[in-house]
Point group: C2
Chain length 209, copies 2
């Protein structure tokens, strides 16, 4: 299995990719050199993906890092008959399967859009070339990874809480913008609780406001 | 609150730190330049820490990255009356509170030895200086972080599984060396199950061998 190309069916290439949001986001971690900006402008691909489009399927090789210009995306794994949502992110997030991209191995997770999305994509080969041509990009990547790693630890902590109210409280602290935007079934799957439990907990939290 | 110094009480400084295991481990990701090796030899501190020593307490600033030469270390957070173990690692692992170190913010987690440990420590200031003096170290750090980030995602997945047998099966796949070395109460805390459930599941797995 191979990962669908960003310009493949269901994702229409846009005429002149405006990668300003990506450059701004990366620049927040470390100022990009004019050479790195020029490289990204030349090689980043813009694409759209409809709601519930699979950007990566388990077993395929992850060949892209995506940046979300507009929309929402989730990662999930299958365990038996169940989907287990492992993360949900919005605009300005970078999205990939780090294990598959880094190790050049088949992905153990799925990546799916939850809304109609505008995305920017950089292929693994181009990213690798970018590191080789401009090694200072390692500094930006190191800072991005530090922050994303810390986020992964925070997500893992929420998953380890046993009490549903504690989980939802930590969810609101970490992911407030998701609460009234993402369908509840995905939030329930992310929090490892039934839809009924999530609805009950949400009612309690709303009545406190 | 401040983090205890690696040379503080309970941790005896060793005479001539041999940092070969650290250099070998880092070299596995990317060959280190002689300048970087020399810098590390000059600034890495060797120390020992007895079993159940706190290397970092919640609320303190994390000022060190540790490398485990010998021993076992866990990360945990408190939620109400409970300890929640978030990771357990052994020899050759790098250990820090990434959020606290990176953001220069009070730690939200605790780090504790589970065995008598031999450690190598590099302070935040020295690590920062290392990045500034030898920017090519960002490449090594980027590769380390990619791998550790992928590991964090795998740990989070285990935490999200609801079935105790599935959890233990994935635990054995990811952390086999821990199974017969680490006290069961920490493994139970890591897997989010009671000691009784863990013992029951382990018996089932052993009877299958």
């Amino acid at each position: 299995m191979t990962q669908p190309e960003p310009t493949g069916s269901g994702k229409e290439p846009l005429a002149a990719p405006d990668i300003t949001p990506l450059l701004q986001t990366l620049g927040h971690w470390h100022a990009l050199s004019p050479e790195i900006e020029a490289y990204l402008k030349q090689h980043v691909i813009a694409c759209t993906a409809r709601k519930r489009k699979m950007l990566l399927k388990e077993g395929a090789y992850c060949n892209y890092v995506y940046f979300i210009v507009k929309g929402a995306v989730r990662g999930f794994r299958r365990e038996g008959p169940k989907d287990i949502t492992t993360w949900i992110v919005l605009e300005k997030a970078l999205v990939t399967s780090i294990f598959s991209l880094d190790e050049r191995a088949p992905a153990i997770e799925n990546i799916q859009t939850l809304e109609n999305c505008e995305l920017l994509a950089l292929s693994y080969d181009r990213l690798d070339e970018l590191y080789n041509l401009y090694p200072e990009f390692n500094l930006t990547a190191r800072k991005v990874l530090q922050e994303y790693y810390a986020d992964a630890e925070r997500r893992a902590f929420i998953a380890r809480l046993s009490n549903a109210e504690d989980k939802y409280r930590h969810f609101l602290m970490l992911h407030n913008p998701l609460a009234n935007r993402i369908p509840l079934k995905y939030i329930a799957s992310y929090l490892g609780m039934t839809l009924e439990t999530l609805s009950r907990v949400r009612k309690k939290f709303m009545s406190r406001v």
